[in-house]
Each structure stands twice: as C-alpha cells, then as structure tokens.
C-alpha cells in the first residue's frame, strides 16, 4: 500500500502533566515520572497500582453547557479539553464546510460508577429480583444514565459542540482503536472525503470497574502503571495547509495482528514496522526516531526489542518511550506518542532514550543517521496482539 503524506496542522493533549503539549514535553524531557501509588480507597481491594491521573476538568472551561454536562463524565471532559485546545491554539480555516470535517476516535470503554444501579437492586439483598427491578428498582436509575455509558455519545457531544458533520467512526478499545482512527482520519482526507479530519485517542478513567474488566481481560496487572489522558490530531488537505501551519506529516501506517502460527508478537511488531515504512516509501535507515510501545511487561517488551533489532540491524535511531512518565493510556497512548514524536522532531533533540532499552538506540556518544531527526516511527501494541506502526515526518 502506498500512502500519500497528509499534513498535521493542530494537536491537543491532556495528560497527568496538565493541558497542552508543553507540560507533557517538559515532564518527558525531565524524565520525571508522574506515576504514584494510587491511594483511592475504591481501589483498595486490588493489587497496589501506580497511576498518573488527569486533574478534573471544569466543564465550563471546555464550553460544555449545563444540559450537556449532565451526561458527561471525565472521559468526555478529557476529549473535549483536547479538542478545545486544538481549536484554540491552531484555528482551522473557517471556510471549510461542516460536512467536510471528519472526526474519528479511538476511545476506551466508559465504566459505570461503582454505585450505579445499586439503588435499583438495593432491596434485593444480593439476589436479583427482576419483578422488583422492573416495577420499582428501575425508577432509581436516572433516565439519561445510559447515555453516559456510551463512548459514542461523548464523541457525538464533541461533534455537536464543534459542528463537525463529516465522515466519522468511534473505535474501541485500547491502542489499536486509536491507531485505526488515525489511519481512517488520514484516509478520509487523502481520499478526498474530507478537507479536515480530527482524530482523537481517549483513555479510560481509572476506577474499580476499569481495573476489574482489565484484570478479567488479562491486560492488567502487568508491569508499569496506568495513566489517563486524551490527545487530538488534526489533518488537513495538503492544498489547504500553508507551510507555516504544518506541524508534521503522517507518512505511513500499518497494522498486523499477532498470530502464533505466523511467529507471534515479535513477528507482528516487525511486520507492522516494515509495513508502515513501506507505505511511507522509507527504509529503516531513514528512521531517525523510534517511539517504542515499551509498556514494561517483559513478554511485550522482549518481542518489541527482538523486532527492533531485526528491522533496524546496526542502524540505531534515537529512542523515546512515554509510559514510564505518563503510564499506559491505552486508547490515549497512540495520540500521546504521536504528538510527542512530532514534538521531538520539531525540537530536534529527543529526550534521553529509555534506560532499559539495552543498546537499541542512539545515545549521547552518537550513532548512525542524521544530526537532525526528520522521520519518526511510532510502534504500538494493542489489546489481543494487534500491532501498529505509524510514520510521521517533518517534511512530506
């Protein structure tokens, strides 16, 4: 698959470091982990966990009116805040029709509050009495409660607020969802279906129910902490974006699912990396910066290291990993990693490589490649073994 580069003209980011790219970049450069042992009593029955939570966001600061705010939770607030910041910091061309603005998102599931529905089953003494539930218990549920559980409703609220009426889809859940949203957003512009396309990645909100489904799904506890956050990237039609508006270019992408019969996770990481580079028309030696998934789980990290060695051989790009600072943002992580990759390219000086990367990367003593980074490859591992590679560059 050949991919025509699509310009990126705006980004918005919400992390535990605060709102915006700069606080996150500073934390990354300082190597200062934002993870801390979570003391929330709600999580007391789970194994100890380090988290990097986002500060609560005032709905008024993101333009949410009182009526809309009734069905918004922190999940939607993070999404709207990141969108709000894209629009505020890099306004899009006003001449674009609303129908020509596409919107895609990868969103983690919204978990009900721990006490939701308890009122509806309170009289049941641990057993479920459906007669009671349908005749009386259901009255204890707020009528709009279901809307708050749908990540697509938070997505729609953002579209309503911004007046976006074009191509769209909500993908769930985890990193592969947002990687897919990036591809589809870029493709909607590349295929002429939209002039602008917004792509968001949103993490879940850390709670007992989130940890419960993660634990049952086998995606936690693993080494490393969990974070909250959201990131938004805006693509524009190449002809619409002036040179000074362009923050970077999406140049290629590829997703491959790990199957044991085909060599498992390590091969899937390799194939996604090679596929992304092929779609970008680049060779491994053209990659100056590698943003690794690096989630801290030995099996996943080992497969990634094996794949990186196989793809890059003696070529040692700069390395970058975000999860030691921000935790794993699941659906938010691809957006964070992509935005940090673009920032590193723009700064020309990536932060120190991940300490545990064991010689895979260029270090202060030097290495191969250009002095100024031009291209970055972002590697992602999703739930159930979906691996993705995304290529961004300073130039098309």
């Amino acid at each position: 698959m050949n991919f025509s580069p699509i310009p990126i003209t705006g980004v918005g980011l919400v992390t535990a470091a605060g709102r915006g790219v700069e606080p996150a970049w500073k934390a990354l450069c300082a190597g200062r982990s934002l993870l801390a042992l979570d003391a929330d009593p709600e999580l007391s029955g789970f194994p100890p966990i380090e988290t990097a939570r986002c500060a609560r966001i005032d709905p008024k600061s993101i333009g949410a009116d009182r009526r809309a705010a009734r069905i918004m939770g922190h999940h939607t607030h993070m999404l709207l805040a990141a969108i709000h910041d894209v629009a505020a910091e890099a306004p899009a061309a006003p001449a674009v029709e609303e129908e020509e603005i596409a919107f895609f998102a990868g969103m983690d599931s919204v978990d009900p509050g721990k006490d939701d529905l308890v009122g509806a089953v309170r009289e049941s003494d641990g057993r479920v009495d459906l007669g009671h539930f349908f005749s009386e218990g259901m009255d204890a549920i707020p009528p709009l409660w279901p809307l708050g559980l749908l990540n697509a409703i938070g997505f729609s609220q953002a579209a309503i607020q911004q007046g976006w009426r074009g191509e769209n889809a909500v993908f769930s859940a985890g990193p592969e969802a947002t990687a897919r949203a990036v591809c589809e957003a870029a493709d909607s512009v590349g295929a002429g279906k939209a002039k602008h396309a917004l792509c968001a990645g949103v993490s879940g909100v850390i709670s007992a129910r989130m940890l419960a489904r993660a634990q049952r799904g086998g995606i936690w506890p693993r080494a490393g902490g969990l974070g909250e956050g959201a990131g938004v990237i805006r693509f524009e039609e190449p002809g619409d974006a002036g040179p000074s508006d362009v923050l970077g270019w999406l140049k290629g992408h590829c997703s491959v699912r790990a199957l044991e019969k085909r060599g498992g996770l390590a091969r899937a990481v390799q194939e996604s990396a090679r596929g992304a580079l092929t779609s970008a028309g680049l060779e491994p030696d053209d990659v100056d910066l590698l943003v690794i998934h690096g989630e801290g789980e030995p099996g996943a990290d080992g497969a990634e290291a094996e794949a990186v060695s196989a793809v890059f051989g003696d070529h040692k790009p700069w390395g970058l990993a975000t999860k030691g600072v921000f935790g794993h943002l699941w659906g938010g992580s691809p957006a964070l990693d992509l935005i940090m990759a673009m920032k590193a390219l723009a700064e020309g000086a990536p932060p120190a490589p991940p300490a545990a990367a064991g010689g895979l990367f260029r270090d202060a003593a030097g290495g191969s490649g250009r002095d100024e980074p031009e291209n970055a490859l972002v590697l992602l591992q999703g739930f159930d073994g979906v691996c993705s590679g995304l290529v961004v560059g300073k130039q098309a």
Binding site: N2, P41, L43, S44, G45, I71, E99, S109, K114, D115, D116, L117, R122, S124, V128, L130, G131, F133, F134, M138, P143, P146, L149, L150, A152, I153, F155, S156, A159, I160, R165, G166, E167, N168, A169, V170, F171, S172, A173, E176, A177, R180, C183, E184, A191, K193, A208, R209, L211, A212, R213, R216, G217, S255, R257, L259, K261, R262, G275, F383
Partner: protein
C-alpha cells in the same frame, strides 16, 4: 462509476433464523421474528417482546462452534462467530485458508452487557457498593457480563479463528456501527490495505439492563403486542432485536483469481454526523441526507440508478418521518418510484449490529431482484408518504440499492450495493 468491491460470502443470525437463506425466505414471507422474551423472567417488563434468538437456536450455535469458542459467555460473541463461520463457508474459505496480513476484520458492536448480578452481589444496603470485596471476588462476575467481554472480543476471536492477520477494527458508533464497519472494510480494500475483509456487526441488548436502557430513553415500544410498525401512524417505538451479520468483502481481482462468484458489489459508502442533539435526529435529516447523497457520489451513481432503499425504519416517532423527508430530499422526483422497506419490522432493531443483516438483505435484493416487505404497516403516517412495500415481497429489477443506519447521538452510515459487473 465505482466498480466497488465484491460481496462473496454472507452469514447471519437473527430471530428469523441462524442462516441467511432461512432469514431471507422468512423476511420475504413477511414473517415476524418478534415474540415474548424467554431468556429471562420478563413478566414485569413493560415491553411485550423482542426479536430474540431462541434458546434452541443458541444451543445449536454452541454445538456447531469449535469447542474453544462454544463456551463464550456473551450471546453477541456467539452470534458473531456463527455468522462469521457461515460467511466464510459461503465464500468458499476455511479457517487457515487465507492466513495473511492482507486479510482483516472490522466489526460493529454496542454497549457492553451490564448485568444486574454484577451490581447486586456487592451492593451493601448501608454503604453502597463494596468495592474492596468486589475486587477480591472478580471471578464471581457474570461470564456474560461486561467485565468478561470487552467490545473487541468478537473481532479478536474471528481474527484468531480464521487466522486473519491484517487490519482490524471494532466500531462502537451506536446504531451506525455495523454500517460503518462494512463501509470501512470496503475502504481498506479500495486503498490497497487488504484484499479480503470479514466485516459486519453483532449485538444483543435483550437482557434486563439493556431493556431498561431503551425504556429509560423512551425509545422502546410499550405496545401490548410484540410488534414494530415502522412508518405507521400507530407506531410506538422500536422493538429490540439481537443477532449478527457478517459478510466477506473482496477486491474484484482477488475474487476473480480464486473463481469466487459475487452476490453483488459494494460500490458506495458514506458516513455523516447530525451534530444536532444526542437524543434526537436533525429535524430536516441533514446528516441522513449527507450520508445517502455521499454514498451515491462515492459510487458514481445518480438517484435514478437506485431502485430500493432498505431504510433504518425504526418505528419510533422521531426517526421515520425524518428519514422519509431525507429520502425525498436526496431522491427528488425519483422518491415516488423507489421501493422502501424496513427489516426492523420483522427482526427488530439489532442496535449496533442492525446495519449488517440489513446490508445482507439489501445485497440479496440486488442479487435476486426482489425486496422484502415492511410488515405491520396498516395505517401509514401522512408524514411517511413513500412506497414502503406493504403487504408482501415485491419482485422488481434492483440494479442498485442503498441501506441506511442512523445512530443514537447522530452518527449515520449509508452503503450502496449494485449488481456485480
């Protein structure tokens, strides 16, 4: 004109049956799959029935699935796997035949299955939910509930079973999810990211919390009879259905190279957003107009090329007149000679999955030049003034057709199917 991608395999599970030909035959006969709920004690539920897949059918599905998948706890996952197996078999493909990064999976699915038991078992009458005890007893959570069934589960299992290593996606765009999944499957093939994509949707909201959700939102019909009356003056809301639809999409070159005979071609897709209100469609159907006209533009067809519209047709007060108005705006004078019908009148609203079986019915209409009726349409609403194929199936030339899926929240999708060249 876009030649589109070929539809080479079909599989579905609905309340009308667990295979395509049975569902199609019964739909053409105008049979209702709506009946009183039997999967839980629904005596106190103020809803007369639903489009429920029978326990007998569910047992048969478990029996024919491989052992490692037959024990899956969630109904929608079982429906998806069974429909996928049927679609692959129909396309002449077996697990492992096409182990490649050039073959992908995209599925639409819905809100997780929240089980009352997962709240009740740890509900402390004095202090609310006992989160600490809950955390220690997670193995007691319901196998059919959301803790054990992430949204991407059906997608992952389908890819694993059929060894499809290519691009993947799970879409949760409410009732537009399956339509978008099929549309994005087509896009993956068009842009050269894949040669084959298994796509569709699966959902089941026929459980106590699911039914409560549609009652709370005022969308479910409280009719005394288990019926759904799209476009009728007496329509009173949707009937919830459950099931799955899965199709095999292939590039034309790939299908021809292996000698696969297509049912039809998927030639156009468009999605839009109302950006109006989360609880009501745009009153002028702005998003619906965009998605329908966009699908025709995408296919390079004009309104006169389209003969049939498989409508979203929910039977709710708000949807049906808005959809009718939008069809009139898009098709102009052609609207009066279009055949329009609602599959939901027979199988109910499959929520996130609805676009998949409706797409299959649309593809069969194009392939076989016959359209199914809208049932229970006895007193047409004056605001719903199109030809809704009441009274029985209609044999007619169907060179091209569209199918609509409009989601709660305002996400819309339209797919356009035409005869395979």
């Amino acid at each position: 004109m876009s030649a589109g991608v070929f539809i080479t395999g079909l599989g579905m599970v609905t309340s009308l049956g667990a295979d395509v030909e049975t569902c199609w035959r019964r739909a053409l006969a105008g049979e209702s799959g709506l009946s009183p709920i039997t999967s839980f004690d629904a005596k106190a539920l103020p809803v007369a029935g639903a489009g429920e897949v029978s326990e007998e059918t569910l047992r048969a599905i478990r029996e024919r699935l491989p052992e490692e998948y037959a024990g899956e706890g969630e109904r929608r996952v079982l429906f998806a796997l069974d429909a996928a197996q049927n679609a692959m078999t129909d396309a002449g493909m077996r697990p492992g035949d096409y182990t490649s990064e050039r073959a992908g999976v995209v599925m639409g699915t819905g809100l997780s299955s929240y089980r009352l038991e997962d709240f009740a078992a740890w509900a402390d009458p004095e202090n609310g939910f006992d989160a600490a005890r809950f955390a220690r007893e997670l193995e007691m959570t319901q196998a059919s509930g959301y803790f054990n069934n992430p949204p991407e589960r059906a997608t992952s299992l389908m890819a694993e079973w059929f060894e499809l290593a290519g691009p993947t996606g799970t879409i949760t765009s409410a009732c537009a999810a399956a339509g978008q999944a099929i549309g994005l499957g087509m896009r993956m093939i068009r842009r050269g990211e894949a040669d084959v994509v298994l796509c569709g949707g699966a959902d089941s909201m026929i459980h106590p919390v699911g039914m409560a959700i549609f009652l709370l939102l005022g969308a479910a019909s409280k009719s005394k009879d288990p019926i759904c009356r799209p476009f009728d003056r007496r329509r009173s809301g949707l009937a919830v259905g459950e099931g799955a639809g899965v199709v095999v999409l292939e590039s034309q070159d790939h299908a021809r190279a292996r000698g696969a005979a297509p049912y039809a071609a998927l030639s156009g897709y468009s999605a839009s957003m109302d950006a109006h209100q989360v609880t009501a469609p745009h009153p002028a159907g702005r998003g619906a107009v965009r998605s329908m006209s966009g699908a025709m533009e995408d296919a390079g067809l004009a309104p006169d090329d389209v003969a049939y519209v498989n409508a979203h047709g929910t039977g709710t007060k708000l949807n049906d007149p808005v959809e009718t108005r939008a069809i009139r705006e898009v098709f102009g004078a052609r609207a009066d000679s279009l055949a329009v019908s609602s599959s939901k009148s027979m199988i109910g609203h499959l929520i996130a999955a609805c676009g998949a079986p409706e797409f299959i019915f649309t593809a069969l209409s194009v392939a076989r030049d016959i359209v199914h009726p809208t049932t229970c349409l006895e007193n047409p609403d004056p605001k719903c003034d199109l030809d809704y194929v009441a009274g029985g199936a209609r044999e007619m030339p169907v060179p091209a057709a569209i199918t609509n899926s409009f989601g709660f929240g305002g996400q819309n999708a339209t797919l356009l199917v035409r005869k395979a060249a």
